[in-house]
Every structure is written in structure tokens, then in C-alpha cells.
């Protein structure tokens, strides 16, 4: 189950001089309970692709199946689809509009026609989930800090109880601490709510630590779709696409070239340090 993408293409401004082919014959699957990183340089088509997944854009060619059904088929309930495939846009704080945080988060559930009580319940649960306690509920969303606004906006999508949650560059424009907070929050949500998460980003360092599958896009094509360590093996090719592998991989590659038999498939700093220590022999142990 989950989402299945069958050979989709998409062209902007068809038939004019400004025609742009944003997606070029993409096929892939997004299974249940998976944490996927969607990586690509600016303009690689990743934002276009995620807007396809919840039916906001219609592919000019190809089909998208959700739980086995064509989402552009006759009589398909796309409103319900948008609740099941939640999409958090870039800078989601720009969509806040209500007088207080709680009612803003209730906007999505209300559109689903749920009872007022159910909406309130879902909204407060989602706000707790993103780490915003009751003291925020009656605040104006415009009085929050940047990071808080973003978390409130994520709660707004979470409150619809999506089966798949897509986040388009959720860390854009945040400082390092805000970035770690949001990423930590997302991976915690993944563990607690057992849903599929698609994290769109252009930074490998952001996603490498959390995801179990990476999809790399370049010029509207899906270039790699594999587990992180396999994808990072191609770090030279990634560089020609304006991307890079996480920094630790470069250090490990460098050490290996210099004759230290370290493991080059590590993804975070701690395991890199362990691997280096192991190679240094007894002299290096005990000092970490």
C-alpha cells in the first residue's frame, strides 16, 4: 500500500515559448512506515513532484496510485486524499491566518467536516506533538517566534491525521538550533505515529542521520533511489548535480586514501569517531 508513481511527466506552460519540462518520466514507490529523504538542487523538480503526490498538480502524463486507486480517476475524492497525504509547504508559517493558534490548527479538521469536539481534540494533540503546550493555544499566531510559527503550521497538517506526511524544506531559513529542533521533532513523530515521512531538502547533512531511503532528483529525473550508504557511494556524481555527501564521508574517504582502513559507510560523527578510534589501535583507545 502507500503511494505508487507510474511514469509521470509534467510540463509547465505547455504550448508557449516558456515551456519547461519539470518532471521527466518518474516512477517510484512510497511504501508505508518509511522515512524517505527527497534530495535535489533548486529547480530539480522536487517541489513539483511533491505537489503531484496530493493531487494539487496533475501530471501531463502517467498515473499516481494511492492505496491502489488512481488519484485522478473519475469520482476520486481528492479532498480526502489531501488529508491522507499531508503536505507541509516551504515556509508554512505564511499560511497562518486565524485569531489564535488552536483555531488555526483546527482549520484542516474542520474542512474535513469533523465535529467541533473532535477538531479541538485533534488540534490540541497535534500541538502537544510539536511541543507547543496549552499556553500557546490562545496566542495569536502572528505573535509567535519563527520556529514556533513553523511548528504550529506543521501541527495544522498533522491534525488531519495523514498516513503520509510530506515536508518541503522544513528547515529553510532557520538557525542551526531551530533546524535541529524541527528535524528531531520529525523523527520523533515518525517513531510515535508510525507514518511515512517524506523529507524534501537540498542538504544531505540534514537528512542522512534520519532517513532510511534517499531519492535524488536532478533536472526532473529520479537519479538514485536507495538506502543512504548506497547513494553516498556516488558522491562524485552527486557533486556534478550541485549536491554533496555528508561531510563525514569526505573525511573518511580521505583517511582511507591515506592508508587508514576506516569504514567509509558511516553517516554520523559518532560512528565515524568510533571507526577511526578502532583503526588507531590500543594507543588511541580510552581517549575518546
Amino acid at each position: 500500500m502507500g503511494l505508487k508513481i507510474e511514469d509521470i511527466s509534467f510540463t509547465y506552460e505547455t504550448g508557449t515559448a516558456m515551456q519547461v519540462r519539470a518532471l521527466n518520466h518518474i516512477s517510484c514507490e512510497i511504501p508505508d512506515d518509511r522515512f524517505i529523504g527527497l534530495i535535489g538542487h533548486t529547480g530539480s523538480g522536487k517541489s513539483t513532484l511533491v505537489q503531484m503526490l496530493n493531487g494539487l498538480l496533475k501530471p501531463t502524463q502517467g498515473r499516481i496510485l494511492f492505496n491502489g486507486e488512481d488519484i485522478h480517476g473519475d469520482g476520486y475524492d481528492r479532498k480526502n486524499l489531501r488529508a491522507k497525504v499531508g503536505l507541509v509547504f516551504q515556509y508554512p508559517e505564511h499560511q497562518l491566518f486565524e485569531a489564535d493558534v488552536l483555531s488555526d490548527v483546527m482549520f484542516g479538521p474542520r474542512n474535513l467536516g469533523l465535529s467541533e469536539e473532535e477538531c479541538r481534540k485533534r488540534a490540541s494533540e497535534s500541538l502537544f506533538m510539536v511541543g507547543m503546550g496549552e499556553r500557546f493555544f490562545k496566542k495569536s499566531p502572528f505573535d509567535l517566534s519563527g520556529g514556533e510559527k513553523r511548528r504550529a503550521a506543521i501541527a495544522g497538517v498533522l491534525a488531519m491525521h495523514p498516513q503520509i506526511l510530506i515536508l518541503d524544506e522544513p528547515t529553510a531559513g532557520l538557525d542551526p538550533r531551530g533546524r535541529d529542533e524541527i528535524l528531531g521533532l520529525i523523527s520523533e513523530m515518525k517513531k510515535k505515529l508510525r507514518m511515512t515521512i517524506v523529507l524534501v531538502s537540498h542538504s544531505m547533512d540534514d537528512v542522512a542521520r534520519y532517513v532510511d531511503q534517499i531519492m535524488v532528483m536532478n533536472n526532473g529525473k529520479l537519479v538514485y533511489n536507495d538506502v543512504p550508504s548506497e547513494v553516498f557511494r556516488h558522491h562524485k556524481e552527486l557533486e556534478t548535480m550541485g549536491l554533496s555527501a555528508p561531510q563525514v564521508i569526505y573525511i573518511m574517504e580521505y583517511l582511507k586514501e591515506r592508508g587508514l582502513p576506516v569504514n567509509t559507510e558511516v553517516l554520523d560523527i559518532q560512528s565515524a569517531a568510533d571507526s577511526i578510534m578502532a583503526c588507531m589501535g590500543p594507543a588511541g583507545r580510552g581517549r575518546s
Binding site: 489531501r82 505564511h94 499560511q95 491566518f97 474542512n111
Partner: protein, 275 residues
């Protein structure tokens, strides 16, 4: 969703009309519109049509592209024609209940329709061949004499060019917010009027907030570059009249003179031309 608006758009190409001084185009369009209301006989309309066709050919803008913008005002045109046809007193040609179709009404309606069509085509030709920046520069330059009367000419022109510049940005922003709210299951295509108005709130509030934020940022950026109004401000591309601009003025005034002449002598023209 806003792709189909062509009125007021710029069409990028190279043509004699594109390279004219914007002041000539602005004055020329104004004089053309005035001439449209001077002419009153078939010969005059023919002349106006001929002039317009020549200008469109000179502009290198595809004819179909210009006409596409006309579709938006077709409804307005039809209403004007209907009112003129049935509400002008005169010799009755056809009658149904309280409605009288008169001979005078019919001629007047046809003339009015031509006038309106030419007016819209003429002014959209100006915006198609002139960038908004050029247009506001021309306005500022042409309105400069009003400074004597303490009219803040530069400020008005600056506000206009900023407003024009922000139209595409705000449209893009509106599109983004709309999509973000649709991702939260909002519906914007409701048939019910009250629901439709209500559904605009989640779009308009963030749009206003973002417009104010952008205005604030822009003011800061201008301040940071020491902007302090038009006093002593020079231009990157100063407007200078060249030979072709004087020729263009000559053509426009020639056209206007012909239009006046046709009106004065309209009675002595042979049959179909004097209608």
C-alpha cells in the same frame, strides 16, 4: 490559475514600436483615443482601423495575442451595444413590447462598438510594447510641469511603478497560499456565494500579512540605499528623444489632423463613407 490575464501585459520582442520613446507612445495613445471620439463617419472609422492595423503590424505582436485580451471585455461590449440599440430614440425599425429598435440606435451602437474595440486594442497595444517601468518614467516626465502646483509627481510615479512591480509577486504568493490551504482541505471553488466569500479569508489574511511584510522590507531596502525622494535623482536610462520619435509624433498628429478633416467634411463625402 491567473495565467489567462493578458490586459496590461508586456510582450517581449524587438520592433520599431518597442524601441520608441515611451512618452511618444503614451501621448500617441491618448491622441488616438481622443481622435476616436472626433471621427463620426464611416470614412473616419476606416482611417482609425487602418492606423491601428499598421501599428499592430509595426509592433510585431501576433494579432491573435492582442485579440485574446479582448475576450474579457466582450460582455461589456455586448451590453453597451444592446442599450444603445434599444434606448436611442428615432425611426423605429422593429418593435417588441416596450422595446424599440431604431435606425439611429443601430448606427450608434455599431459606431460605439467600433470605438470601444479600437480604444481597448489601442491601449493594450501600448502596454504590450512598453514595460511598466518605461510607462511610469514617461508619466513622471510628462507630468513634470505639475510640480509647479506642488503635485508630488515623482512620488506618484514611484508608487505606481512599485504597485505594478508587485502584481506578479503577489499573484505568485496568492497561488502559493491557496495551494497551502488546499493541502489543508480548503475549497475555493464552492458555488455557494456566502461559502465562497468565507473561503477567501484563509487566502486574504496571509496575503495581506505578506504584502505588509514585503512593503516593510522594501522600505528598509530603499532606506538602506539612501533613497530620499526624487530631488536631485538621476536615471540609469534617461529619456532622450531621437529622430524616430519626432517622426512618430508627426505621424500621430497627421492622423489626428486627418480625423478632424474627415469630421469637418463628412457631409460632403460620397454615400457609404458619410454614414
Amino acid at each position: 490559475m491567473f495565467e489567462n490575464i493578458t490586459i496590461g501585459q508586456y510582450y517581449q520582442t524587438r520592433s520599431p514600436l518597442h524601441s520608441l520613446d515611451p512618452r511618444v507612445k503614451l501621448t500617441g495613445t491618448l491622441l488616438y483615443i481622443i481622435s476616436l471620439f472626433i471621427v463620426n463617419c464611416a470614412a473616419g472609422y476606416l482611417l482609425a482601423a487602418l492606423f491601428l492595423v499598421c501599428m499592430i503590424r509595426l509592433s510585431h505582436v501576433p494579432f491573435r495575442y492582442i485579440v485574446r485580451g479582448m475576450r474579457a471585455i466582450l460582455f461589456l461590449l455586448a451590453i453597451t451595444m444592446l442599450f444603445n440599440m434599444f434606448l436611442t430614440p428615432g425611426q423605429v425599425l422593429w418593435q417588441a413590447g416596450p422595446l424599440h429598435l431604431t435606425r439611429e440606435g443601430l448606427t450608434f451602437a455599431v459606431k460605439m462598438a467600433f470605438r470601444l474595440t479600437f480604444l481597448i486594442l489601442g491601449s493594450s497595444l501600448m502596454t504590450l510594447t512598453t514595460t511598466p517601468t518605461q510607462l511610469t518614467d514617461a508619466m513622471e516626465s510628462l507630468m513634470r510641469p505639475l510640480k509647479v502646483l506642488h503635485v508630488p509627481v515623482h512620488e506618484i510615479a514611484m508608487m505606481m511603478s512599485i504597485a505594478l512591480r508587485f502584481i506578479p509577486i503577489l499573484m505568485e504568493e496568492a497561488d502559493k497560499i491557496m495551494k497551502a490551504q488546499m493541502a489543508r482541505c480548503a475549497e475555493f471553488d464552492s458555488k455557494h456565494l456566502m461559502k465562497k466569500i468565507k473561503s477567501m479569508v484563509p487566502l486574504l489574511v496571509p496575503l495581506f500579512v505578506s504584502a505588509f511584510r514585503r512593503a516593510n522590507d522594501l522600505a528598509m531596502a530603499m532606506e538602506a540605499r539612501c533613497y530620499r525622494g526624487g530631488e536631485g535623482r538621476t536615471r540609469m536610462n534617461p529619456l532622450i528623444y531621437r529622430t524616430r520619435d519626432w517622426i512618430a509624433y508627426g505621424v500621430v498628429f497627421g492622423f489626428m489632423a486627418a480625423a478632424i478633416a474627415l469630421r469637418v467634411f463628412s457631409a460632403s463625402l460620397p454615400f457609404p463613407l458619410n454614414l
